[in-house]
Structure formats: structure tokens, C-alpha cells
Subunit: 267 residues, 2 copies
């Protein structure tokens, strides 16, 4: 499982304060904790700062990569902010995200191509987020075909089926699961990625729903996720689902997590 | 989700003692706890008693149905024991289980037909439990076609894909998930049922694996399970997976479980 740590996001109050105050120590602590817990990549998002976003993203990339040799996921729909961040990024970044919306595609694609980035592609177009799996799958096909035509290879595309709250539609969970399975069957080699927390919006015990949904997504083929790797119960669920889906050879990672005390029922 | 409470099984030491001592109070307490926690049906298994099995099953059916108006799942491969139990059972029982093994089919089928029972049908034949989903699905098709030919309706058939430990084969979890999905697609109307605990045999933190696997099975179409309804974490996982799979209209059961304090992260 490819894990993108989601915590460095200025929509979180403490991160927002730290970015404004240029408090590198705090940011590095949050980055380090996520890497320690198993993140393969660190997402950076400074969308709330609006005009300050490009500077903030560049600063975040610089301080994090000065200390850790880890690739970052630059999380912005703003091409100017992406350019600032990518111009200082070392190694291959991921851009989060492109869509099939004309304007967004035209703005982001040149940036992705110029820096040879991996890219998160959301299953939506100018008509918004579709209701059904079939519509999402149709967008997925068109996204992959467009990105491949531009020279981006399948292994660098991370399709996000886009999770909507089940409190607003009983079928919205299943639509994501069916989309994931469809992608695995029809577009082999393409990665799938998901943010989970939308699914539980408006319901109690959100963490329970989010981690249960993660297991269900893994059963349907999900191979990457943007999540909080310091949520121990979520990670225990992830390790077990990964093993149960036959993705963890000889359950090695599961057993390693167990020996590190990460699976205990008290976490 | 159709829940069969698994706890009245003489392979559990206290149940064994209670059955031998004809301690009806203890048995009724275990039955009552399971019903209270949401079991739709109570499994009774006295297989360890060997020669005493028929008498024990009859006694269990009698005392449980004297107090609770609930149908029972008579869990035995022994036609004589099934006959004893079914001859005193009120309402429609479930028989657990038939297989495509010739001898077992010929022994159990007449009993199921005579009493008009629902039936658990295991996806195995005289060659044992198959490795792959395709082989299981092939047996599933033949089981349903045989049982339907005998006059048993689809809604009374509960196919069990048979779970094998992932510690003995990385693919054994996925084989079950693929079988469940195949049954849902190819044999609509037929129910699926599963015992979970085999999946985690030989690994640490078995309860974590079992409940994660339950969520993954529900994502793949499982609609019934034989489990311990007094395992609160397992049930919290079940309620959330059921809602996430779009099977819980307006999340009503999930919200009801929440109000009853059954979803709290401390359970």
C-alpha cells in the first residue's frame, strides 16, 4: 500500500499557524511522525492561504526535503503554486490533482509534463462528480487515455474515484467500490487513490466508518491512500486488509507491525 | 445482515459442560445474550459429543424454543442428529450444512426436504475445498442447480465459500471475496454466509483480522454470517460496513446502534 501522509494541510489550525509563523520545527515534527508511521510520501497543502499559497508551498517543500529525503505530493489546483513548489522539489513529485474539467486540465497538465510528475486524477469533469460507478469509470477511461496520449505512463497515474458522504446517498459507498473494481479490471497498471474521510461526513463515529471503508476499498483493489498514518486504528485496519487481500507476501508487513506493537487491540 | 449466533457449540468448554450437565439456565443465558445483541438465528452444535449428539441437539432445540421464539440453525453433518433435532423444532430451521460430496448430499438432502429447511451449502465436493474462486464458483453453480432441481428455492440456499487461513496461502482471502462477488453476479437471489475465524488461523491479533475480513466480505456481497454477536468491535465493524455497502437505508441501523452505545471507540 502506497501511503500519502495528509497532515501538512493549512486547513488544520496548528499547521496554518506554523506555516504563517514559518515554524519549521513544528512542520518537520509532523512530517517526521508521518514518515516514522509508514508514510511513503508527504502531502503539502496551503490552499487556505490563497495569495500566500505559492510561497508557502515552496517553503514547505524546501524545509521538508532539507531534512528528509522523501518525495512530496503537491496538493493544489493552482498552477502558479504548483510551479513555485515544483521548481524547488528534488526527485519526482506527485501533483494532486488534475481532473477532466477542461480549464483545470489545460492549466495543470503542462506543469505535470514539464516536471515529469506523478499525478492524482479525479474522476470528475465539467459536469461535476458523477453519481454512478459507470459514469466515474467512463471519466477514468477518458482521463487515462488523455494522459497516456500526452506521454504520461500508467504507473504514474493515480485515479481517485471521489468519495461522497453516504449520509447524502445510500449508494455512494458502493459507487466508489464498483469504480475501484472497474479500474482494476479495465485499466490494469493504473493506480487508485482515495481520501476516505468524506464518506462519513454527517454521521457519528467517523473514524470507525473511515477505517472500515478503507478495508472495503482495499478489497475492491485500492492500492494507495491519502490518510493520517498516525491514526493507529486506521493503520491496524490497513495492515490487516492488505494481508487479507493477498497483497502482503507471507503476511510479512502484518507480522512486522504486530512485533512493533501497532496492531494491539488497545491502540 | 442476517446474523447466526455461533456461541452454542460444545467445542467451547463451558457449553460442553452445560450440555452434559443439562444446565438449561446457562444455555438460555448464552442464547438470550446473542439475541439481545442482534442475532436473527441461533446455531446449535454438539458435534464433540459424538454418540450423544442427537440427544443433545434435541434437548438444545427444546429448551431454547421453549423460552425464545427464534429459529435455530442445526449444525451437524450427521443425518440422525439432524432428524432428532428437527423433529422437535418449531418453525423453519436452517441445516448447517450440505456439500457437493456425494455421500453427504445423499444423507442430508432428504432431511432438508422432509422438514422444508433453509440450508447452508459449502462450496466443496469430493475433491475437498478448492483453491481458486473459479473452482468454488463452479461448485456453487452445481450446488444451486442441484438444490433447485430438488425443489428448494434460491432464497433458502446459503452458499458458504469456505474460508481458509491466509497464513497458509496469500490468495486464500481474495479467493473468498471473488467467490462472493461471482455468486452475487451469477446467482442472484442466493444468499451467502461465512464463518470468519478460519481466515486468521496461525496469525496474531485474530479478532482484528476477522472483523476486517467481515467488512471486506460485505463489500463483496456477503449478506449473512455465523459469528459471535457479543463481540462488540466485530458488531461495530458489521454495522458500519453494512451502511457503507448501501444496505442500511438512511443508515438507520447504524444510527440506532450508535444511540445504543454500540459503536463507541471504547467498545
Amino acid at each position: 500500500m502506497f501511503i500519502v501522509g495528509e497532515k501538512i494541510n493549512t486547513s488544520r489550525k496548528k499547521i496554518n499557524q506554523a506555516v504563517i509563523a514559518k515554524d519549521a520545527d513544528y512542520i518537520l515534527r509532523v512530517a517526521g511522525e508521518q514518515l516514522e508511521a509508514g508514510a511513503d510520501m508527504i502531502d503539502v497543502n496551503a490552499g487556505t492561504l490563497v495569495d500566500g499559497e505559492p510561497d508557502a508551498l515552496r517553503w514547505l517543500v524546501q524545509i521538508i526535503q532539507e531534512k528528509f529525503s522523501v518525495p512530496l505530493c503537491i496538493d493544489s489546483p493552482n498552477p502558479a503554486a504548483l510551479l513555485e513548489a515544483l521548481s524547488v522539489h528534488k526527485g519526482r513529485a506527485m501533483v494532486n490533482s488534475i481532473t477532466l474539467e477542461k480549464e483545470r486540465m489545460n492549466a495543470i497538465l503542462p506543469v505535470v509534463l514539464r516536471f515529469g510528475c506523478k499525478v492524482v486524477a479525479l474522476c470528475m469533469d465539467d459536469n461535476g462528480i458523477p453519481d454512478t460507478a459507470q459514469q466515474r469509470l467512463d471519466i477514468a477511461r477518458r482521463l487515462v487515455s488523455r494522459l497516456e496520449a500526452e506521454g504520461i505512463s500508467r504507473e504514474d497515474i493515480y485515479l481517485d474515484p471521489l468519495v461522497r458522504p453516504i449520509s447524502t446517498g445510500d449508494d455512494f459507498g458502493m459507487a466508489v467500490l464498483d469504480t475501484l473494481r472497474g479500474i482494476r479490471e479495465e485499466l490494469p497498471g493504473v493506480h487508485t487513490i482515495c481520501g476516505l474521510s468524506n464518506v462519513s461526513y454527517g454521521l457519528p463515529e467517523r473514524a470507525l466508518l473511515n477505517r472500515t471503508f478503507l478495508a472495503m476499498c482495499i478489497a475492491s483493489g485500492l492500492d494507495s491512500a491519502i490518510l493520517d498514518p498516525n491514526d493507529n486504528r486506521l493503520m491496524a485496519c490497513l495492515y490487516s486488509a492488505w494481508a487479507l487481500a493477498g497483497r502482503d507476501k507471507f503476511c510479512r508487513k502484518y507480522l512486522k507491525a504486530h512485533r512493533a506493537g501497532k496492531l494491539s487491540s488497545d491502540v
